[in-house]
């Protein structure tokens, strides 16, 4: 028989979920509603001269080739951040899982970067690669690579990806490590007795069993790349040089807060919101089916 928790009190369940509902309404639905409202009006920065303009803000966006450049860039950027972030952290988690002596120390070191705010991570990496005083840039120039992210757009993008990945690896690492440690030892041992080598054991047993964790992290990482990398971009490149690191979320900030164009900026956030809803939906609807729980 199915075990069910039942409430006798009619209002108690509502009361218990109320705090969460209130938080969701106040911090998610209300701002989203505001963004949708702002996206169909224009006004001056101080809130005067408000006009309802239907979808003018969106029309402006879609007639701007720069916007589509930013969309393409964001897709490429997110793919790089998510794939690199997951691959590196999986590798680290597998390594850390095998370490016996000093395991806690390694884990602590690997988790550290997560405590660093994205903006600080940006400044840190910017300093290392600074074309005139950066240690790494200096070493690169010693082996003949001229690294100048202030002028070179591709290098700037690489640097932003590195900083963003570095910041997220710890989070992924923790989940992968937990996932690896929850795989029953008996399975691995049985495979070992059957003569499977470490590589085979990983790909045929550990990897499939990690897929729920991997899937969850994929969703989280893509959302991270879309939204939370703002601080890294802001501190490192401000979207430049040219528009080579002007990803969508930075453009929203730049147009809204630097340019005081609230209508255009809100239109962009509405689109961004739609993209993420769609992505999450697709991921759960289609990819989740291939995941073993």
């Amino acid at each position: 028989m199915e075990k069910r928790v039942t409430f006798n009190e009619r209002w108690l369940p509502y009361f218990l979920v109320a705090p969460q509902i209130v938080i969701t309404l106040v911090f998610f639905f209300w701002p989203s509603g505001q963004a949708i409202f702002q996206s169909v009006i224009t006004e001056d920065a101080f809130g005067g001269n408000t006009k309802f303009v239907w979808f003018d803000n969106f029309v402006h966006l879609f007639s701007d080739p720069g916007y589509f450049d930013s969309v393409r860039l964001t897709v490429a950027f997110s793919a790089m951040v998510a794939s690199l972030g997951l691959a590196i952290s999986l590798l680290l988690a597998v390594m850390a899982d095998r370490v016996i002596r000093g395991a806690t120390f390694y884990k602590m070191i690997l988790v550290w970067p997560y405590a660093v705010a994205p903006a600080v991570a940006g400044v840190l990496w910017g300093f290392l690669f600074n074309p005139s005083v950066g240690v790494v840039a200096w070493m690169l120039s010693a082996i003949g690579i001229e690294f100048n992210y202030v002028v070179n757009g591709n290098q700037a993008l690489i640097l932003v990806v590195i900083a963003a990945v570095w910041n997220q690896v710890s989070y992924n690492f923790l989940f992968f490590l937990a996932g690896l440690q929850s795989i029953p030892k008996s399975l691995i041992e049985a495979a070992a007795i059957d003569g499977a080598g470490p590589g085979r054991r990983f790909w045929d047993i550990a990897f499939p069993l990690l897929s729920p964790t991997g899937f969850f992290l994929l969703v989280v990482n893509i959302i991270y790349a879309f939204f939370d990398t703002f601080g890294v971009v802001s501190a490192l490149t401000s979207g430049g040089p040219g528009q080579s690191t002007n990803i969508l979320v930075y453009k929203v900030y730049n147009d809204g807060f630097r340019g005081q164009d609230l209508g255009g900026s809100s239109a962009q956030s509405v689109i961004l919101m739609a993209i993420v809803i769609l992505l999450t939906f697709v991921q759960f609807r289609f990819i989740e089916r291939r995941v073993h729980y």
Partner: protein
């Protein structure tokens, strides 16, 4: 028991004293001056507060210019606006468009019956922030203009006369070549590239940045800076970039690090950076001169325009409080205060009297070159091309120009294509501003 009694007596006493303090009218002044500048600003507020009893100015640091503006806008929308907010010069057109939010300074002064003489101000400083018929909208506070800095030690090493700065862009090129040949890492770099190389190059050679007197005549304007001289200048710098005669050091003030670390020998930067550059290199190594010009474009330079920020008065406070605002603005623009501010920070004094006071005190003898900024601004009577810029959505337009210039420095575009694209993209932003403010 007696302890409780004692502490409650103390509490009551404190309450009473707090009340008597709040009998003073408080004036909120939100600004974006951090570090040393912030301390100077606090000192100014203190000085005003000690000079009279009726009003108390509270200077509040709100972060960068953008953050300060955003905070003031949010506060205004919540009906908690500060009396005075410091806004950078590129925000001028957007502030003007915000009718009902700003209280023009000339009106504040007139309503408070505070004496106010527009003629006391330095022309281009006043002109940038006034209407076409000469009414002042916001009070100039920290104004600067780009000037030319050079590293005397590197000049000496390259076999150049350390005391003769290059006068023309051609001279700059020749000097840069010698610097690089003598082992220097970089010849020339510029701060705030759009402000220095596009906007000020235009004013300096009497070329328009936009139609209708650079936007002073209306919002239906078009950008004009993709002209022959500026295409040539940018292309020349891009060519110099190939052998380090020119090095791009990043947006805003980031390139100054190249100057203070001794990599670049020449630098165009804000006059407000003087003390930072002198502190970095050592005062004796730094020379300050007027910006170079192109004699083939104009036989003699016109005058430069300013950057920096002004103080805007916001609406929405009780009428009586604006009397205090007017008094404070008068205090800030007085010759003594301005002279003190100018000498401590390197910003341009906003009145002629303050400049004279500084000269009479022998300041320019002790700090040679600090008078260059005022000299540049007042070199000739300002024309409609050199009075200032009144461009809507200017923050975004500057970003666009920065981006397109970066495309030139990285070799993605040539100067003509980049400036044409910058004008095209900028015009779209102007159209957007025009429709939004009809």
């Amino acid at each position: 028991m007696s302890r409780i009694l004692l502490s409650s007596v103390a509490a009551v006493a404190m309450l009473a004293s707090a009340q008597s303090a709040s009998a003073q009218t408080e004036i909120q002044w939100w600004h974006a001056m951090g570090g040393n500048l912030g301390e100077t600003v606090n000192a100014l507020a203190d000085q005003f507060n000690k000079s009279q009893k009726e009003y108390k100015v509270a200077a509040v640091y709100k972060g960068s210019y953008t953050e300060t503006l955003t905070a003031a806008i949010a506060a205004f929308r919540a009906k908690q606006a500060p009396h005075i907010v410091q806004v950078f010069e590129v925000g001028t057109a957007n502030m003007m468009a915000a009718k009902g939010a700003v209280y023009p300074v000339y009106q504040v002064m007139a309503d408070a019956k505070e004496p106010f003489d527009p003629k006391a101000f330095i022309g281009p400083v006043y002109g940038y922030y006034s209407t076409t018929d000469g009414k002042l909208l916001s009070m100039p506070f920290n104004s600067s203009t780009p000037v030319f800095y050079w590293n005397k030690e590197m000049f000496q090493k390259a076999g150049l006369d350390p005391n003769t700065p290059p006068k023309t862009w051609k001279d700059v090129g020749e000097a840069a070549a010698k610097i690089v040949a003598s082992g220097g890492k970089c010849g020339f770099t510029s701060q705030w590239q759009t402000w220095a190389l596009i906007e000020n190059y235009g004013a300096w050679h009497n070329l328009p940045f936009a139609t209708k007197a650079n936007g002073f005549g209306g919002t239906d304007i078009e950008l004009k800076f993709n002209d022959e001289p500026r295409i040539k200048l940018i292309q020349m710098l891009a060519d110099w970039g190939k052998d380090k005669r020119f090095v791009y050091g990043g947006r805003e003030g980031k390139s100054t690090a190249l100057m203070t670390s001794g990599e670049c020998a020449m630098h165009i930067a804000s006059s407000g950076s003087a003390s930072a550059i002198e502190a970095g290199l050592g005062k004796e190594k730094v020379g300050i001169a007027m910006m170079p010009y192109s004699p083939e474009v104009k036989a003699e330079p016109q005058n430069s325009i300013i950057g920096g920020a002004t103080l805007w008065v916001l609406q929405g406070r009780p009428a009586a409080e604006y009397k205090g605002v007017a008094k404070f603005l008068t205090f800030l623009s007085s010759a003594e205060v301005q002279a003190q501010w100018h000498q401590q920070t390197g910003y341009v004094p906003i009145t002629l009297a303050a400049a004279k006071l500084t000269e009479d005190a022998g300041f320019y003898k002790k700090f040679p070159g600090r008078d260059i900024a005022v000299k540049q601004l007042t070199l000739h009577e300002a024309t409609e091309n050199s009075k200032g810029l009144r461009i809507g959505n200017f923050v975004q337009i500057r970003d666009v120009v920065d981006e397109e210039l970066e495309n030139v420095w990285s070799g993605k575009k040539d100067a003509k294509a980049a400036l044409d694209d910058a004008v095209k993209r900028g015009n779209e932003l102007l159209r957007k501003f025009e429709t939004a403010n009809k």
